[in-house]
Structures are given as structure tokens and as C-alpha cells.
């Protein structure tokens, strides 16, 4: 499903070169729930960004669902991201000036989907995460766990086959974290959605199918 071959990522400044990812080879199967662990700055988020096609590897190849990514700036990659990938972030990244349902509709805005259909799909996604009664609320009126559930609804509204989650429980207490994790596990098991999750939490990582560890940009497990 996701294939990374000899992926390197080097950040260059005028005087320093930092190797963020070193020769990563990874094959993630369809329907797999993979977690990535490692200390801060080891390249977890960089790896997730590369899988999410929002960052470009300095060397190596990335292919997702058989689609080899060569151009990271064009419209086709934006379309691909929109249709195949869902994103969940540690800090939720909800737009505070939009209501819950408008936030969830956001990915559909960049597809040719009618306003009525957008609303219907967003409602369905919110029902899945148990937030139908919060549709008209604004993010500032929600708890952290609710915010993350909105973010999950936004990630799944476009029915992507891959979800990339960057520390989705990082900002939540354990109860809320478990709630979010249960939703992700449900999506993986019931809808066969491939999920790649970056986490610092061993307990959460143990709930997934496979765990890889990074250290100083290299895969160590």
C-alpha cells in the first residue's frame, strides 16, 4: 500500500546539513495499522509527512497504492492527497472560525462535491465519531477529546484508504486518548483503513499491528 525505498531526507541550511531520515525502507500493507515510535527529533513526523506527500524526500522513492510520486508540487499530488489520504494531528488543527460540520466538510471542498452532498457526508462522519449533536458548535466549545474526534471525522469524511495520524493522543488524557484510539482501531478493523500512527505512548503502540522505531533518522526496529 505504502512503499518507501531508500528514502533519505536532508535539511540544509547555509552552514549545516541535518540528516532527518536515513535510508528508510518500509512496506506498509493494505489494512495494516502501523505505529512509529522514537525519541523527539528522530524523524517520525518527517517520515509521516513524506508518506502524506506534504514533504519531499531528498533521495529515494515513495509509492502509494501503486502511484509513484515524482512531483510533489503539482495539482495531481494535491488531488491524490485529497482522495487517498486522511490526516490527524496532535494539535487537532481545527479552524476555529468554522463550525464543527464546516471543519469536517473541508476536504470535500477541494473535490467536485455538491454542497448538499458535503453536508450529508460530514454528518455521516460525525455520527461515526459520536458527535452528531455537536455539529453546530465551534472548536472552542469542545473538549480536547471532542476536538480530536472532529479531526478524525474530517480525516474520514472523504473515505480515504490511508490515515496518517501524528500523535493523535498526545494532547489528551488517558481516557480521551483511549476513546480516540478505539475509534482508530474501529476504522482499521471494520473499514480496513490503513493507518500509520506516530506516537510516544507504548500502550497505544501495542494496540496496533506493527511497530517500527526510529533513532536519529534510521529505522532501528
Amino acid at each position: 500500500m505504502i512503499k518507501l525505498n531508500n528514502v533519505n531526507k536532508i535539511y540544509k541550511t547555509k552552514s549545516v546539513e541535518t540528516l532527518a531520515l536515513n535510508n528508510i525502507n518500509l512496506n506498509i500493507n493494505e489494512g495494516e495499522f502501523l505505529s512509529i515510535m522514537g525519541p523527539s527529533g528522530c524523524g517520525k513526523s518527517t517520515l509521516l509527512n513524506i508518506m502524506g506527500l506534504i514533504d519531499e524526500p531528498s533521495q529515494g522513492e515513495v509509492s502509494i497504492s501503486g502511484y509513484r510520486i515524482d512531483d510533489y508540487t503539482g495539482k495531481s499530488v494535491a488531488k491524490f492527497r485529497n482522495e487517498h489520504l486522511g490526516f490527524i494531528f496532535q494539535s487537532f488543527h481545527l479552524i476555529n472560525d468554522l463550525s464543527v460540520i464546516d471543519n469536517v466538510e473541508l476536504p470535500l471542498l477541494y473535490r467536485k462535491v455538491s454542497s448538499k452532498m458535503r453536508r450529508q457526508l460530514a454528518e455521516e462522519a460525525l455520527i461515526k465519531v459520536g458527535l452528531k449533536n455537536r455539529m453546530k458548535h465551534f472548536p472552542s466549545q469542545l473538549s480536547g477529546g471532542q476536538k480530536q474526534r472532529v479531526a478524525i471525522a474530517r480525516a474520514i469524511v472523504g473515505k480515504p484508504n490511508i490515515i496518517l495520524a501524528d500523535e493523535p493522543t498526545g494532547n489528551l488524557d488517558s481516557a480521551m486518548g483511549n476513546e480516540v484510539m478505539d475509534i482508530l482501531l474501529g476504522l482499521n478493523q471494520e473499514e480496513k483503513t490503513t493507518i500509520v500512527m506516530v506516537t510516544h505512548d507504548e500502550l497505544m503502540a501495542k494496540k496496533t499491528n506493527r511497530l517500527i522505531r526510529l533513532f536519529d533518522g534510521s529505522q532501528v526496529q
Partner: protein, 394 residues
């Protein structure tokens, strides 16, 4: 996308209020400036209808107790002597309602089946050539008109279109309470295309030229048409001739061209000042818009990163920011247009409605253009934001 932008603008109405207010006041001020400028320029492009180059004007007082026979003789002599000067082409007499003088003689009646309001000027038979009038129908006065049963008049095209549109006008009689002619009627002998004697920037008005023979004591001013490149000594020569024949020194000689320039300056200067104020305002609004956009974009970098991650292309991002500011501008314009529409609807000033409509369109156009220009670069910069970096700036 429009609905989404509207939702976003509506949800941020408090934040957008000041920007909307800025656009609202900018529109009102631009509307005022453009109404003034457009109404004046639209008047300006209408021809004056007479020559000002090489036409001089002499104002002379006519004594109350003048003997009419002596006066007629003096007038004929003065014409002959002046026209004998090689650099003088022609002389004609008129009343003291002369171009750019701010004086007017107005009369009106509704006895002809339409509301006739016109300004009146009395001229002799030579004024057509001296003044360079453009007769578009009929003729100018001739000497034999003195024997006419009805007082002969020449009217302006504007008046013809008001009272005789699609009908024959020459030799038509109409009631005009001017003198004791039969039934107070006068007879149209000709039509001139334009005559804006109050100045280039004034609105055209219905004009009626009434014939008075050269010898009439009503005519106390004189047009003198001179040749091109008249010598500097010509004025002195004319001055001496008039003084010698009239035996008076209480007359003034002016060139119509200098009068035209003086009068035009009275409008050009306010136009320049208002356009200067307008430009200053536009620069300020532009700086404001630019600042607000930069601020918004910097504040919303994570949101831009998110949108890019969720599938927005660079053009989607640029369109989003341009769209937001355009929509705020649109609402500001609509709100201001509601108020400016009251001017033509309530006829608050003596200005043609079309000038208000042009001013509204141009003001809206200027603001929209300004918004597009000011939003183009910041929006482009927003589109170039790297989502991977922006998402970690929260």
C-alpha cells in the same frame, strides 16, 4: 467555495468589521470625488459652441441719455474703423451677458405645450462669424430681420430637441414673453448646436438668441475677431480707436481665451485637489488592505498548511484569500451603494443621475481593482507556504 468563504467571513464578522468600514468610507469618499469629477468632465467634453481663440471682448457703458440717431451713427463708425485695422477680421455687438461673465438672463413659459426655460442673449447679425457659431439648421440673423413681423430668434439644439423633436422647427412660432410682438410670439430662424457661455464645465442650457440690430442701445459689448498671431500693439490700437470714437475711456478689452482659462481654472483646481485627496485615500486603503492581508496570512499559516494537506492546490489557497478580501469589499461596497443610491433617488443635488451611476461604478471598480492588486502578492505568498512547516507552527 463561495459559500465556504461567505461562512468564514460571516463567522469572523467582528474581525472583518473594521476592514468593511474602511471599504465603506473609501467608497463614499471616492463616490463624492468621482461624482464631482465625472459631472464636470462630462460637461467639459461637450463643445463650447463658440470660438475663444482670436476673439476679443470690449465692454462699453452706453449712456442713458444717448440720442439714438447719434448712437447708431457712432456704432457704424466704430465698426468701420475697427474693421479697417488690418489685423481685425470682424466686429459684432452683443448685450453684456457675455461668455464666462457669470451673468444670465433667463425666462420661461409653459404656454407652448412644454415647459420652456431658456437663457436669452441678444446679438446682432454679425455674431455668427465673429463668434464662430455652428448653425446646424436654418440661418443666423440678417439685416432684413429688422422688418420681420415676429422677432427672429435662433435657438440651441437642446431647446429644439425639447420642443420640436422630429418636427420642422424653422419658421416655427412660439410664445415667449419677450416683447410686444403679435401674441408675444417669436419666430425661429435657425438652430445652433451648442452654446455653453457660462463655461466649459457648466451644464448646457436651453439658449435663445434674439436679434437686435447693430444700432440697438441694448448692445453694449463688442466682439472683435482678430487674425492669428495678432501683434502686441493691436490691443493698444483697438483701445485708441474705441476711445477716439466713443469719446470715453470707461471700457475694458479682454480676450475670450484668457476668460475661458480663468473660468476653467476655477474647476480644474478643485478637481486636482479632490483627485489628490482621492489618491491619498486610495494609497492609505491599499496600505491598510496589504497590512491586513499580511497579518491574516501570517496568523493563519497553520490553517494554510492544513488546507494544503487536505488537498488544496496553491491556486485554491490564493483564490481563498483573494476571495475573502473581495467578499468583504463587496459587502462594504453594497452597504455604501445603498447610501449613495439615495443621491439620485432623492435628487439631493442638481446633478444628472447618470453621473451618480458612473461614479458608483467607477468607485466600485477602483476598490475592486485595489483589492485585487493588494491581495495578489500576499495571496501568492500564502500559496507558497510549505504545509509541512506551517503545520508545526501552531
Amino acid at each position: 467555495m463561495t459559500k465556504h468563504i461567505f461562512t468564514l467571513i460571516w463567522n469572523k464578522k467582528k474581525k472583518n468589521f473594521l476592514l468593511l468600514l474602511e471599504i465603506f468610507f473609501a467608497f463614499l469618499i471616492l463616490f463624492g470625488v468621482f461624482t464631482f469629477v465625472i459631472s464636470n468632465l462630462r460637461n467639459y467634453i461637450t463643445p463650447l459652441g463658440f470660438d475663444t481663440e482670436n476673439v476679443w471682448l470690449a465692454r462699453m457703458e452706453v449712456p442713458q441719455d444717448v440720442d439714438s440717431a447719434d448712437f447708431a451713427q457712432m456704432r457704424q463708425l466704430l465698426r468701420t474703423e475697427l474693421e479697417a485695422i488690418p489685423e481685425v477680421e470682424q466686429v459684432s455687438y452683443t448685450i453684456n451677458i457675455t461668455p464666462f461673465s457669470n451673468s444670465a438672463w433667463q425666462n420661461g413659459t409653459d404656454e407652448n405645450g412644454f415647459d420652456l426655460n431658456a437663457r436669452i442673449i441678444q446679438n446682432d447679425e454679425y455674431y455668427e462669424e465673429t463668434g464662430g457659431l455652428n448653425i446646424i439648421e436654418g440661418r443666423w440673423f440678417i439685416k432684413d430681420d429688422v422688418h420681420s413681423k415676429y422677432k427672429p430668434v435662433v435657438i440651441s439644439k437642446m431647446l429644439r430637441d425639447l420642443g420640436w423633436r422630429g418636427k420642422p422647427v424653422i419658421d416655427s412660432l412660439f410664445i415667449f414673453n419677450y416683447d410686444d410682438g403679435p401674441d408675444n410670439q417669436v419666430k425661429i430662424v435657425g438652430v445652433v448646436d451648442h452654446y455653453k457661455y457660462m463655461g466649459e464645465f457648466t451644464e448646457e442650457y436651453n439658449m435663445i438668441f434674439i436679434y437686435e440690430p447693430t444700432t440697438s442701445t441694448n448692445l453694449d459689448c463688442m466682439y472683435i475677431r482678430v487674425k492669428d498671431n495678432a501683434s502686441p500693439t493691436l490691443e493698444e490700437q483697438i483701445n485708441k480707436t474705441i476711445a477716439a470714437i466713443t469719446k470715453r475711456n470707461d471700457f475694458i478689452i479682454q480676450t475670450l481665451e484668457s476668460q475661458r482659462k480663468r473660468k476653467s481654472r476655477q474647476t480644474w483646481i478643485p478637481i486636482g485637489i479632490l483627485l489628490g485627496i482621492g489618491s491619498f485615500l486610495i494609497i492609505n486603503v491599499a496600505l491598510g488592505l496589504f497590512g491586513v492581508l499580511w497579518y491574516n496570512i501570517n496568523k493563519r499559516r497553520p490553517e494554510i498548511g492544513l488546507r494544503r494537506t487536505l488537498g488544496a492546490t496553491k491556486s485554491d489557497i490564493a483564490r481563498q484569500f483573494i476571495g475573502e478580501i473581495l467578499m468583504v469589499a463587496f459587502f462594504g461596497i453594497i452597504l455604501a451603494a445603498f447610501f449613495t443610491m439615495q443621491f439620485p433617488m432623492m435628487k439631493l443635488f442638481d446633478i444628472e443621475n447618470i453621473n451618480y451611476y458612473y461614479a458608483m461604478l467607477i468607485s466600485a471598480g477602483v476598490i475592486i481593482l485595489l483589492v485585487l492588486l493588494c491581495s495578489f502578492y500576499p495571496s501568492r505568498q500564502a500559496a507558497l507556504i510549505n504545509p509541512a512547516i506551517a503545520l508545526h507552527e501552531d
